[in-house]
Symmetry: C2
Subunit: 382 residues, 2 copies
């Protein structure tokens, strides 16, 4: 096993509390097969390939010259690069848009896997929204992440195809206190107050799904999580024309240090009561205030987003923004309320366009050799 | 100056023979101003910013809270990351599509800066083709490259806007013999026989523009070069279904080692005469044979391309390929004939779609403090 690889086996899937790697390739897939057995075999095949990929090995086995190679080859000389792979299932895998039970799995649909309600300000495009399945690949080297997604997509042939895919070139969150806080494309440090792998009790409370909490999770989700993605285009040109004071008032933090406007350093707690000229020094519509657990019944998310640039918008500007990813124990309590507050009240929203959205159930990790991802979903069904 | 920075000043611009960095952001711009003075001031402003960016410093200067910051900030905590910036000028900057002399610079149009002839198999899209100006940013860290392009685009406000932009996540060429040969998205080593910085005589012959060769270069191009880009979508799904033998016959090299099919190791010369079953062992329509200098009157290019993934094609596949970049002394002799051969005869072309194309004149480097990029173009004109 390569020295820069993470183990595949574990209670939880990799890529959630793993220290956020710098590069991302995320794919959503549309399932084409109508066979439950084929759907299960897809997870079995993906599990075998994921173990090889995360260990830095080519997928499959060496074939003769007369056959197509099992591995596509572009990562042959590259290391494991701390690759993690995280697999998820969308609501549309269980019930289609007309409510039809696609695979006889509807009774195992997690109640928390609801479609997101429409938000004021949503500008969602079908090309970046939803998906029956998802795979998040994170790695130090983007070619390793792209290679993994490509080979997993290839393995899905005949059973699932690409719905959409997103590259991220720079992480915008830390998930370990050993990591430096990165910056988003507004130039601000992001995710300072993120949940961290060093806080297992908070993770148990806010990130991991369990069968005994109020989410009503089915047994197969025990030890899993929920992944919410938002593709958020950032209007960087008007932002770049805003005075520094306005930028800092919108964020509620200083740009250079990332310190709360109430003073101290990056990791000091914001003082939301402190008075400034004409109101609180951390404005009532600032991002840090509205998203803070203190304003949200103590709710926290594990954020794991990435900066993206997709070329140009055809109107003379760069098409750039944030591919937001959050892992939470229940999107209904831990994501929807925060998103609603943000889109409705946050001063930042003026500079954002939400163009994509998806929610996926993330099954637990594979704990034992021979088991496979989402195996509990199929138990007793086939 | 940061320890991982390259000097800005030099006979040639950076980013040509600099050892190819792993990540790319390339932008083509449309000039909006009609003023020669404003065009010149753009190059002056870009020159000042490029010096700061390459040194790992924020652009501009620190402003008060009441003003928009000069630097957008997302690279504040990042190193110089070996950033290089390479500026170029398209034919359309000199004469528009109706032949009109836009800035009174038509008499300084390099004869070598011709529009590429239409190629059989071209599937060019306007969204990836042409441009009045270009900037190539290469760096170890993609966020540093994106930050540079974004800030240079911002500086251009009122004078030029983005025509198109392309991210590349993995280099496909080495430009120094100290570098490992990377792989393209067909899984093959690419650029094994590329020109290298360690070969100054070959660079002088094939890459650098000079006023005394047959290209008829104007004086302002002395020490410059020409940059040709092609956005080449790779049909990875059918390729991945081709047997290894077919893949290797198309490339003319082995997949794992990158050795010519005639034997030896990666860096051994191919033996085009060696017989195999039913013909030469390196097939007549193989990529390595058709592109080899021995088949092209000794002509060589400095290739500097990048793998890209742009999401999905909307048809269930990943949209991925090669953003080809080559630097040559004269596109008429060093690029067009090879491109024509490749598109017409190369077995590889079955798996490629050329969707974008551009050629730019690359002025020489800035040798002295106080000078600016392309200054020679404006001399005596303003």
């Amino acid at each position: 096993m390569a020295s820069d690889s993470y183990p595949f086996l574990g209670q939880h899937q990799s890529g959630i509390v793993t220290p956020a790697q710098d590069r991302l390739h995320f794919v959503a897939l549309t399932v084409k097969t109508e066979s439950l057995a084929e759907l299960r075999s897809l997870f079995e095949d993906w599990t075998a390939a994921a173990q090889q990929l995360m260990a830095g090995q080519p997928v499959g086995e060496e074939k003769s010259l007369a056959a197509p190679p099992d591995d596509t080859g572009e990562a042959l000389d590259l290391s494991a690069s701390h690759l993690t792979l995280t697999f998820g299932l969308g609501r549309s895998l269980f019930v289609d848009s007309e409510g039809k039970d696609r695979f006889g799995l509807a009774d195992r649909l997690p109640p928390a896997l609801e479609d997101l309600p429409t938000m004021s300000g949503d500008m969602l495009e079908a090309a970046w929204t939803g998906g029956d399945l998802c795979i998040q690949a994170c790695a130090d080297d983007p070619q390793v992440a792209v290679h993994a997604i490509r080979n997993l997509v290839r393995i899905a042939a005949g059973r699932a195809v690409v719905a959409w895919s997103q590259l991220g070139f720079g992480r915008t969150s830390s998930t370990s206190s050993a990591q430096v806080t990165p910056r988003n494309l507004f130039g601000f440090k992001d995710g300072t107050a993120n949940l961290k792998v060093e806080e297992p009790e908070l993770l148990a409370k806010h990130v991991w799904a369990s069968a005994d909490n109020s989410a009503g999770n089915p047994a197969w989700m025990e030890g899993g999580s929920y992944c919410a993605t938002r593709k958020i285009r950032m209007l960087i040109e008007p932002w770049d024309r805003a005075p520094l004071r306005e930028q800092e008032n919108i964020m509620g933090r200083t740009k250079k240090e990332g310190a709360p406007l109430s003073g101290g350093g990056e990791f000091d707690a914001p003082d939301f009561e402190m008075k400034g000229r004409g109101g609180p020094i951390i404005p009532v519509d600032s991002h840090v205030r509205l998203m803070h657990p203190a304003q949200n019944e103590g709710v926290q998310m594990l954020r794991r987003g990435y900066n993206y640039t997709d070329g140009s918008d055809g109107l003379g500007h760069l098409d750039a923004g944030l591919f937001f990813i959050a892992y939470v124990c229940d999107p209904r309590t831990h994501f929807v309320p925060l998103l609603r507050t943000m889109m409705k009240s946050d001063a930042l929203s003026e500079y954002l366009r939400h163009v994509g959205s998806a929610v996926f159930a993330i099954p637990p990790g594979v704990s034992e050799e021979g088991d496979f991802i989402a195996s509990g979903l199929f138990e007793g069904k086939i």
